[in-house]
Symmetry: C2
Subunit: 306 residues, 2 copies
């Protein structure tokens, strides 16, 4: 269990484990309902195989938490929360393909293309990506249409050439290049990881009618936990075991990928991650005690072992 | 040149060639501006290589025409017109991949993955698909937000498991199966081809504030030209030359794919296409002479040789 920031006397103890355990099944149920089995079954089986494969559901939970933080009913953010997980799942399915990272295992199970074939895996990713936008547009209830459009625009930016896909392209180009700079490494992870976390955190608040200032504070928070998340991922790739992580490890080293530990060493990497988490929590100061879930999630990101 | 329906005394001669020649460069310029070169260049080069590779631009032109048909300014539909072409291009890039149809040539040029590699081609498709939704959400001007959301929902449905991707999955599963039924063949093409044409035609009208009745007539029109389009494609795969078509021909036969000519023979296939086009034009009767462009495009679909 991870406790909330104990340096702040305004914060009572917050049980993050209980919070995540309550939210995760809500998200799972919403995902299950959002993508029911239908014809053509092969496609929907493949989509559901990866979408319902477990995982931390961190992006949906961040979205729901930020919606509540600014006084919204989390139900209005649930379609967007699901869309975030659909997009994240699509990126994993496509990343795992032989033409990309060529991974056989993910979350302890065979990757999508190992079960359904490369062709179906490509199409399942396309369908999940498409459905993310459709689902936000059709299932979001009780929110002015212009806010929904703003969320759709933000999701698009987080995924496309100025987001996740752009980061992935630079990552592929940097493989085997020992001269990768810190600037390039930051670009990769700000786009591959932080961009989607940023819209996860801001979208819930936008749907709930947050002010521009509130959205900016949440953006500052999200960018920092996003980068810290990746630094910790790099550390875990070196220090963890395959059993704990549920996926192939040591792959970064094998692929001659630049990582934060390869640039900074392990100790400095941990120090930088801690610093980013402190800054992330500081960005939430104006929200007061209501920001406990987001603070605890920030702590959890550096404390996690998988 | 194809003339408008000469049986209708209310219609004066309509110069479709001139109409298409005027519209096509407008669409090309809008596409060029919508996806400018930027970092990371490899990604944007790859996206632009396929997006700006010519083609008939039929879907964008149908979208602009239906917007005008119900009294709208075509400028309000241009972002959606571009999105339709981004989606169409994404589907071609992913379809051509070795894991799918494994095509080396498209529109007389090397396919995207032959130039940029499978990994970049997958990501360029993902980025185009994503940007289609983002572009509609951010660039559509002077239209109530709820109409824009309706178009985004319609685009999603036309592309995902209930549209293009669903049709592609059933198509892949039917390859080499000599028992493919007419019902399955219709499913494939209603989803792979007609669904995107349908949202192309209806979206322009929705943005312009069409009534439900008007949208329904346009849907009837689009479904029929969509199926006729595919029947003609199947006919051309047999009767055309590679030079005229700019892509590999006879591939359907080689892949043992069921086609309309293989089920009906060439003569009956032509008759069915003609019948669908007559029905498509009849669905436009209530629009009067303003429907000339859409009628002429219907005629063009059966008359085309490439």
């Amino acid at each position: 269990m991870v406790s909330a920031n104990s340096l702040d006397p305004n914060l009572t103890e917050f049980d993050l484990s209980a919070y995540l355990e309550e939210r995760r099944p809500q998200v799972e149920a919403a995902l299950d309902a959002a993508v029911p089995m239908q014809y053509p079954e092969t496609l929907y089986e493949s989509m559901r195989y990866s979408l319902l494969a477990g995982g931390k559901r961190l992006r949906p939970i961040l979205c729901l938490a930020s919606c509540e933080l600014v006084g919204g009913n989390p139900a209005v953010a649930m379609p967007t929360a699901c869309a975030l997980e659909m997009i994240h799942t699509m990126s994993l399915i496509h990343d795992d393909l032989p033409a990309m990272d060529n991974d056989d295992y993910r979350r302890g199970r065979l990757t999508n293309h190992k079960v359904y074939g490369d062709d179906v895996a490509i199409l399942a990713g396309d369908a999940l990506l498409t459905y993310a936008f459709e689902h936000v547009a059709t299932a979001t209830q009780g929110v002015p249409a212009d806010r929904v459009l703003r969320v759709i625009a933000g999701l698009g930016k987080a995924v496309g050439g100025e987001g996740l896909v752009g980061g992935q392209i630079v990552d592929l180009a940097s493989e085997g290049n020992p001269d990768t700079t810190l600037e390039t490494l930051n670009y990769i992870h700000n786009h591959k990881t932080a961009a989607l976390l940023e819209i996860a955190v801001t979208s819930g608040a936008i749907l709930a009618g947050a002010t521009d200032d509130q959205v900016q504070h949440l953006r500052d928070y999200a960018q920092r936990i996003g980068l810290a998340f990746q630094i910790v991922d790099d550390i875990l790739d070196i220090t963890s075991t395959a059993e704990t992580l549920g996926k192939s490890i040591g792959k970064d080293v094998a692929a001659q990928k630049a990582t934060y530990p390869s640039l900074w060493g392990l100790e400095e990497s941990r120090r930088q991650a801690d610093k980013l988490i402190d800054e992330a929590k500081a960005a939430l100061d104006s929200f007061g005690p209501a920001s406990q879930p987001l603070r605890a999630i920030a702590d959890y990101i550096v404390a996690r072992t998988y």
